[in-house]
């Protein structure tokens, strides 16, 4: 691709870039990766707590999106669709490393109470890492991605009641972990 074409692509509206990518242009898809990598890598980093693994999973998500881009019905839905692909990639990974990942079973099994020592205050990413994977995913989709509970349920394929419980319990636990001083 000539530099002039590349420049045109970088200035093109996203819907046009998506249409070109869906038609088979690798350069157009690379432009989409360039535009969306920040948010997708950030999402994966919050989910994993490990930058290298997060980038690896983000790459997998982009490659899966590249393979299935023709299934996207509307270019306007690209952001949500890409996030859903990423969530599925992460869930697959989480099931491999920590089977089973059960959104209902996880509701019953609360982790042991965290240390009451105020000196053991944690930063946000460390606190997130202490949540159950199901809680972490629901909290991140709700707080960071701005999804409603129903949208989180749709993205994950989990029951709405389970999602609401994960968000409530995860929020309470994060508040405890981060301590009142940090939050107020």
């Amino acid at each position: 691709m000539r530099p002039a074409d590349s420049l045109r692509l970088s200035n093109a509206p996203e819907a046009q870039v998506i249409a070109l990518a869906a038609a088979g242009s690798d350069e157009a898809f690379a432009e989409l990766v360039r535009r969306r990598q920040g948010s997708l890598r950030a999402l994966m980093r919050r989910l994993c707590g490990d930058a290298a693994l997060a980038d690896d999973l983000a790459q997998q998500a982009f490659l899966q999106a590249w393979r299935t881009l023709r299934q996207l019905r509307s270019p306007g839905a690209f952001g949500g669709w890409l996030r859903q692909v990423a969530v599925h990639v992460w869930l697959r990974h989480a099931r491999l490393v920590r089977p089973p990942l059960d959104p209902i079973e996880d509701l019953d099994a609360e982790p042991a109470a965290e240390s009451p020592d105020p000196a053991a205050r944690l930063d946000l990413s460390a606190a997130l890492a202490q949540l159950k994977p199901t809680q972490r995913l629901c909290i991140i989709l709700n707080y960071v991605e701005g999804l409603s509970h129903a949208e989180v349920a749709a993205s994950t394929g989990w029951p709405l009641g389970a999602v609401k419980s994960h968000i409530a319990r995860g929020t309470a636990r994060l508040r405890r972990l981060l301590s009142v001083e940090v939050l107020s």
Binding site: R34, Q37, A42, L63, S125, R175, L183, S184
Partner: protein
């Protein structure tokens, strides 16, 4: 249960930095795409080769079946041409035999 978000947590999340745009990451995805295309191509070649080998393997029995049927049909067709209007019957008979040959070859394979 309401959908209200804890404002303090929301603020903490909003302040968390995003990774910087990284051309090396884009290049890594590009390499993955190229690898994917190579694997697709290899898969298509393997599929074509498998189809070709299957055709070669089937060609022998099919030709043999057609030869056998033709050997039986030829004398009948020759006699049909000797009667008035027999050409039409001969063509219809030949068509019928061709279909039979195809069915027979599938059964034998």
């Amino acid at each position: 249960m309401t959908e209200e978000r804890d404002p303090h947590l929301a603020r903490l999340f909003a302040e968390a930095p995003e990774p910087q745009a990284d051309e090396a990451f884009v290049d890594a995805v590009r390499m993955g795409m190229a690898r994917g295309r190579r694997m697709d191509l290899a898969g298509a070649l393997a599929m074509s080769a498998a189809v070709g080998l299957t055709c070669v393997a089937l060609a022998g029995p099919v030709a043999q079946a057609v030869g056998q049927v033709a050997g039986q049909v030829a004398p009948v067709m020759a006699e049909l041409f000797d009667v008035p209007g027999g050409e039409i019957l001969a063509v219809a008979f030949a068509g019928l035999m061709a279909v039979s040959a195809m069915v027979l070859s599938r059964v034998r394979v």
